[in-house]
Amino acid sequence: MRPYELTLAAAAAAIRAGELSPVELTDSVLARAEAVEGRLHAFVTLRADEARASAARAAHEIAAGRARGPLHGVPMGLKDLIDVKGQPTTASSSVRADHVADADSAVAARLADAGAVLLGKTHTHEFAYGLTTPQTRNAWDAGRVAGGSSGGSAVAVAAGEATFALGTDTGGSIRVPAALNGVVGLKPTYGLVPRDGVTSLSWSLDHVGPVTRTVEDAALVLATLTGHDPRDPADATVPRQGRRPYPEGDLTGLRVGVPRNYYFDRVAPDVESAVRDAIDRLRDLGAELVDVEIPMTRYVQAVQWGLMVPEATSYHERTLRAAPELYAPDVRVLLEAGELLLAGDYLRAQRARTLMRRAWTRMLDAVDVIAAPTVPLTAAPAGQQSVQWADGSVESVSDSYVRLSAPANITGVPALTVPVGQDRAGLPVGMQLIGRPLGERTVLRVGSAYEATRADAGRLAPETGTPAAAESMPPAPPAARHLPGRRS
């Protein structure tokens, strides 16, 4: 196995054992990026020389007995909304052409303290205000969307261009591209990971989190981001290396909520069958499956938009007046239209969010996690605007990708996406595991137990960039029909 193919945990183990140096690993990942970037465009900037120098420093420290932990010497990418001192934070926008960050973001500082090697900044849909990341191509099929807004981070990880990456998630922007590229993405509990120095889309919905190849890797990155000392016995919020208070893979006694409404409505048949098969595996691991009714689903989109649209417009107030022509057309019109929303609309959304949080808290009393699809459809062809569902309804691709992710942003609960196979076209499908507030350990435990049942866990996207044959997926009834060039 070549170094760029290693998961974070495997690379860390090899470095710790002296079998792999951070320099070899970083060189391998950079060579991989050089080989595929012309096709995928995951990165805004790659800083190869600085990365090699950083890897050399890590190698020297480790050789001198000053190993800092599992991220030490491991190459990673940061979504280009995340400040790194002295580097531009472009937000993949011309608006930020002259920007240079004057300090590290909190998460960049924590990764630097952990000795991680920064490869460069990854593409985002402009200012995170979109679900496709049009600059970047899907790692499994370059003719399809990467998903967004953390499309660059997900593609880089899926293609072996970074051993892990960070993204941000306001309505699904970590989980959507992770699911569409067959990798793991974690949106932590609101407020758990600091957002200082991270460009905001919507303050009350934004989260920062890891994009990784395995659930174990996500746990390692989360532990670093939260700043918890893994040796601290009082730490009850995040998983720790070496601590396994439950038999590995055994989910006996755990209650998994299976939504009877919303999460399986208007979902492509292949996606539904892959996720239901994964839920069956959770049952086989000992979990008790419990039907749950998702509350207030009629208001999810209204609350999401009622919060996000005015908050985003407020963030961009000055630049929208100073240089509106520098925004991409799709982002500019949303920011301008946001000026016309009333304070009453925003307050109604915040009050509805209170009701929704309370209702979700009651629902989560009955279960430990909820298992559901991450997105209703796999990666759409680039340029496709809308999808028609079996019930005849038409939905924009972006609305579709947000639909199942937004509840966890509104309520602030942790949500993890895990690959659960492919559809008939060979494109990856993600299952979402949603937990209680600060329930990261449980969500990661369930994801890890599921992942251990799969022979393909942690694998990279196929070399060719075209989808492989579907994994034991039976022929399905006609999927949702894709309608190019239409808007809902």
Binding site: V238, L340, L341, R351, R353, T354, L355, G412, R436
Partner: protein
């Protein structure tokens, strides 16, 4: 939607021009149709919240129930 909560009227491009000026964001005439369509679409989505009877429910920012936590590292 209850009878006491009428559906908000769509904005016309002329309304949008006036509202935008009021917001301190003068829009050129060629922007008006696109902004009007987007603003009306957004309004149609968020208007469903008018169905809810909020009684004494405060906005989430003032509500103590929920998972919001401070940076757990501090």
């Amino acid at each position: 939607m209850p009878p006491e909560a009428p559906v908000p009227a769509d904005l016309t491009p002329q309304d949008v021009a006036q509202w935008a000026r009021r917001a301190g964001l003068p829009l050129e005439s060629e922007r008006l149709d696109a902004v009007t369509a987007t603003a009306n679409h957004i309004q149609a989505v968020v208007a469903t919240l008018r169905e809810l009877d909020f009684a004494d429910v405060p906005p989430a920012s003032a509500d103590t129930v929920g998972p919001e936590v401070r940076d757990a590292a501090v």
